[in-house]
């Protein structure tokens, strides 16, 4: 921990290093000065690649910058020994020994950048080294590389470099054991280059997907990045599919390629800068990461909200691989026009239908595989616009399974027609008809004289209330709403328009209002296997208060939203919204106390979108399979798949 605490005082507050660092004591490509203005990108050594896969080659530009800002130490750029590095450090106010100590393995030849370096970095370099715009970074690096023997190496390196992003603890940990293993690293630059080329070729041949999450695959990763980066924009769809599919928790070391491919809901851990870098390079939507981020939620993506939409809109005509229908849906997600699990899922499936209608198999390619690749590309684009909801993930899994199950002897038009029909059937059976069944079950639980409380705006709950009103049941509705989305107002408008007597209140007052409530009806984005309800933020509070007042809580959720995952808290998986939305109150411009909150070091705003309600607070879940207790969700998940409705 020492290494982390000390640099805190000296590092740029906008960039925080997570994990252990040690100075790079050996740069093949330049002066090994660790105190240079190197950006917080890990050093990568090509020889490290060849000798130990845990080594991460130093970024070429680091060395070039270092050569610019500091006099080169009298060490051969290609064979700096550790001792030489140590001795030649031109110390400013930074003493690398502080960093060396905890990670004190003397064999540490690969290093990550310490925060001290970033402090010294020039701002331009710094900006470029931030994981913003992988391509921009590469170009900057290109610029910075002096025309020397380094140039040849550096052309290769930047790709590897960019993906290494900042130094993460995980990477650091990997490096140490690996470093302790290798102690020679005296190969020539040319040898290392040749070795790397060979490895890259081998890797490209072997398909670079799954290795990204391998702990010890740093060298391999660089090669992957190399091969993956070469076709930068155009079909990164192919690689982005692998990115999307393979991104799991940072600690996931098992690259089972097929399994990852089938995972519909990639949950990339965004505090692992390597992956963030890679994803950046492949991303279609240009987005800058938000600067002031809550530490606890660093594993979730958060981007600056202002710039994404105009940027995406302006690039409409350049997005060849993306079908316009999918693009439209993505833009609407980004703008927040479509919200709600069912609406998003239906919009996405209809966009896919459009794209499949216009699809034609390229020559020499199998329809199944090519179509799957295309769908993967669309999915990763949609993820960039807005992270997938679980319902969308399930729908995508269904679609891919059906594509895979297409008989090989079908003609293209037959195959397409079959898929389109399947999508229609899915939408119809799993969403529209399911809603009707849910409404039918739920109205039996509404009696005359009931006071029904609901939170936010759920499409299922709205249908239930309207239908109960049509049937002539006498009840009163209480709508609880919360900032910043204030979704309940739309629901309120629709209910009042139909003549239902409503009460509208804010979530602060829910414990005040709960004593007169007889039933609580809530919607859900998903229900997980342990009975946890994953829904709009605030739902858990409402359910908890209801439970305390012994009011039954009914969750209305279609069965296609169930997932076999288990989640114990709201932190490990969530979605972060725009923090500026909290800082502003619409219609009240005089409330501007939080203006300029980004400039304050001690203040971070957090705008969570979802939360997890434990199953203890849920009395009953109403699905299209009937009314079930929360303990029976895994049964439904099991039966649901067995009924071959998906397969």
């Amino acid at each position: 921990m020492d290494s982390r605490r000390v640099p805190r005082t000296v590092s740029d507050p906008k960039v925080r290093q997570v994990g252990f660092f040690a100075p790079p004591d050996r740069f093949q490509s330049g002066p090994p000065v660790p105190t240079s203005s190197s950006p917080p990108v890990s050093e990568i050594s090509p020889s490290g690649n060849s000798l130990s896969p845990v080594m991460i080659p130093p970024p070429r530009n680091l060395s070039s910058d270092m050569s610019r800002h500091f006099p080169p130490a009298p060490i051969s750029p290609l064979r700096g020994g550790r001792g030489a590095a140590d001795s030649s450090i031109p110390v400013g106010s930074y003493n690398p020994s502080e960093f060396i100590s905890p990670t004190a393995t003397a064999d540490f030849s690969e290093d990550a950048v310490s925060p001290g370096w970033s402090r010294k970095g020039n701002s331009a370099k710094f900006a470029s080294s931030l994981p913003t715009g992988g391509i921009g970074m590469a170009s900057v690096k290109q610029n910075n590389v002096p025309a020397s023997g380094l140039a040849t190496v550096s052309t290769r390196m930047p790709k590897a470099v960019t993906e290494k992003g900042g130094a993460t603890g995980e990477v650091q940990m990997e490096q140490q054991p690996g470093d302790s293993k290798t102690s020679k690293e005296k190969t020539t630059k040319a040898e290392r280059r040749a070795l790397q080329e060979a490895q890259r070729a081998a890797k490209a041949a072997a398909k670079s997907e799954g290795s990204k999450t391998q702990a010890a695959a740093s060298g391999v990763n660089s090669i992957n990045a190399n091969s993956g980066k070469v076709p930068k924009m155009t079909p990164p769809k192919k690689d982005s599919s692998s990115v999307a599919a393979s991104e799991k928790r940072g600690g996931d070391r098992q690259p089972d390629k097929d399994r990852k491919k089938d995972v519909p809901h990639p949950r990339m851990q965004f505090d692992d800068e390597n992956r963030v870098e890679k994803a950046k390079r492949r991303s279609v939507v240009k987005q800058t990461e938000a600067r002031s981020r809550v530490e606890l939620f660093r594993h979730l993506p958060q981007y600056e909200h202002g710039t994404r939409l105009p940027d995406l809109e302006s690039r409409f005509f350049q997005l060849d691989p993306i079908h316009p229908a999918v693009y439209k849906v993505g833009v609407r997600y980004l703008a927040g026009d479509i919200s709600g699990g069912n609406a998003r899922c239906i919009a996405m499936l209809q966009a896919f239908q459009e794209s499949i209608r216009d699809y034609s198999t390229p020559p020499e390619k199998s329809l199944i595989r090519d179509l799957t690749t295309k769908i993967n590309g669309y999915v990763s684009f949609l993820i960039e616009c807005r992270p997938l909801s679980i319902s969308m993930g399930n729908a995508i899994r269904f679609l891919k399974t059906r594509i895979n199950k297409l008989a090989l002897n079908l003609s293209e038009s037959e195959a397409k027609a079959s898929i389109l029909l399947d999508i229609d059937r899915f939408i119809n059976e799993k969403i529209i008809l399911a809603d009707k069944v849910i409404v039918k079950h739920a109205v039996t639980k509404i009696r005359d004289g009931d006071v029904l409380l609901t939170y936010g705006s759920s499409s299922a709950v709205e249908m239930i209330l309207l239908h109960a009103h049509e049937l002539g049941k006498q009840f009163r509705a209480v709508i609880v709403d919360s900032r910043p989305k204030l979704e309940g107002q739309m629901l309120l408008r629709r209910l009042v328009g139909q003549g239902i007597s409503c009460t509208y209140t804010h979530i602060n007052a829910v414990s005040y209002v709960m004593h007169e409530v007889t039933r609580v009806l809530l919607g859900a984005s998903s229900v997980l296997s342990n009975g946890t309800v994953y829904s709009r933020v605030g739902t858990a509070s409402v359910a908890m208060v209801a439970h305390q007042f012994r009011v039954p809580v009914l969750i209305c959720c279609e069965a296609y939203k169930f997932h076999e995952r288990v989640q114990l808290d709201s932190i490990c998986s969530n979605e972060l919204g725009d923090p500026d939305a909290i800082a502003r109150v619409s219609g009240r411009t005089e409330i501007n106390y939080l203006e300029g909150w980004t400039n304050s070091e001690n203040l971070q705003l957090l705008n969570l979108i979802y939360d997890a309600t434990p199953s203890d607070y849920v009395s009953m879940i109403i699905t299209d399979y009937g009314m079930i207790p929360p303990t029976s969700v895994p049964v439904i998940v099991r039966e649901y798949q067995r009924e071959h409705l998906w397969i």
């Binding site: 039933r519 009937g626 303990t631 029976s632 049964v635």
Partner: protein, 367 residues
């Protein structure tokens, strides 16, 4: 369906739920000797009943005869005190198949459905009757191979399944008694509530297995069925102590396990049983005593009450022995709902289940 039920078969006293009338009728007259005789007599019953009904049936014609004969037959079966209502219903429905004149599968299923509906509407408050009929229909019509056979062999196959179902249900009590023996240890004190034939079977089997235990038996007002139970147990030399209903919390310290039956088991895993069960379960839970429920699997119903009032009301008027002023209201509900968190285990013919498994079973059966 209601219009087809002849007047004589309507609920003679609408004030009282039919289900509880039946129970009252049974418990008022029957002793265990009678029980033993009745059990022996069961074997001879089917033929008589069937021949009667089939003659009735052919005379009465298809449509109305069906409704008439089913309820008739059901009543015949029901009169045996040892036979559970649902089992009587199942036997009646089996006889419908036997005596059916249908020539196609669809026709037979329609007949069965009609008969089942008429039975259910005859007593809407009985959960086990409804559940038993529904389960029987599912069980019987679930055979997929029926489509490929000719009608007669399909019909005989259906009949076989129906009778097997009836047999299983009839033997359910024995299975439950066997399963629960492990949970009754020597020297334990068991608290029972009201009169449940299943629980009686459990205790009787335990006594026959020479286990040493004693029983606290609540009075079970207003039926006072506890008195009957205590008589029965005393015959088997089981030490019994009678408690008034209010003395449950007072005696709960000495109790080791609580054993109750169930009128119905609902989807959440909770049970619907005689009034007072919820109270006992609450006290037991607060004192950390396990509550065991003995219920046959045909009592699993697709109901999901959210609170006490969320069920079809079953009324049982109470005679206080003194006249009450007209302004005074009396709570006459005959049963209550015990939520699953207060129950420890359910002993069923499917095995020893925890409350959350009930929904599992129901989903598997109904999906």
């Amino acid at each position: 369906m209601a219009t087809e039920i002849p007047q004589s078969h309507q609920n003679p006293d609408p004030q009282i739920s039919l289900y509880y009338q039946t129970r009252a009728a049974h418990h008022a007259v029957v002793t265990s000797d009678w029980l033993a005789q009745a059990q022996a007599a069961v074997g001879h019953h089917p033929e008589d009943a069937v021949s009667d009904n089939s003659s009735l049936k052919s005379a009465g014609g298809e449509e109305s005869g069906n409704g008439y004969s089913v309820v008739n037959e059901f009543n015949n079966w029901r009169k045996q005190p040892d036979l559970a209502e649902a089992v009587a219903a199942i036997r009646a429905l089996a006889s419908v198949i036997r005596s059916s004149q249908a020539t196609t599968m669809m026709e037979l299923e329609i007949e069965l459905k009609k008969a089942s509906d008429s039975l259910k509407s005859w007593d809407t408050t009985s959960i086990s009757l409804t559940a038993g009929c529904d389960l029987f229909m599912r069980y019987v019509t679930r055979t997929s191979a029926l489509e490929y056979e000719d009608f007669n062999s399909a019909k005989s196959r259906l009949l076989e399944r129906a009778e097997r179902f009836g047999e299983i249900s009839y033997k359910a009590r024995k299975i439950i008694a066997m399963l629960s023996q492990d949970f009754i240890f020597d020297g334990c004190t068991i608290l029972v509530h009201g009169f449940s034939r299943v629980v009686l079977e459990v205790l009787r089997t335990a006594a026959q297995n020479r286990k040493l235990f004693r029983v606290f038996c609540t009075e079970g007002r207003p039926d006072r069925t506890g008195l009957r139970l205590s008589n029965e147990l005393a015959k088997h030399d089981v030490p019994v102590k009678l408690l008034i209903d209010s003395a449950v919390a007072y005696s709960m310290d000495e109790v080791d396990i609580v054993f109750v039956g169930a009128d119905g088991v609902v989807e959440s895993g909770g049970i619907i049983n005689m009034m007072g069960t919820y109270q006992i379960a609450l006290v037991a839970k607060s004192m950390n005593k396990p509550v065991y429920v003995a219920a046959e699997s045909y009592k699993f119903a697709r109901l999901y009450p959210l609170d006490q009032k969320d069920m079809v009301p079953a009324i049982r008027p109470i005679d206080f022995g003194v006249p009450l002023p007209s302004k005074v209201e009396v709570e006459t509900s005959a049963r209550d709902y015990t939520p699953p968190q207060y129950l420890t285990f359910l002993f069923t013919d499917l095995g020893v289940l925890s409350p959350s498994v009930v929904s599992d079973e129901l989903i598997q059966l109904y999906l």
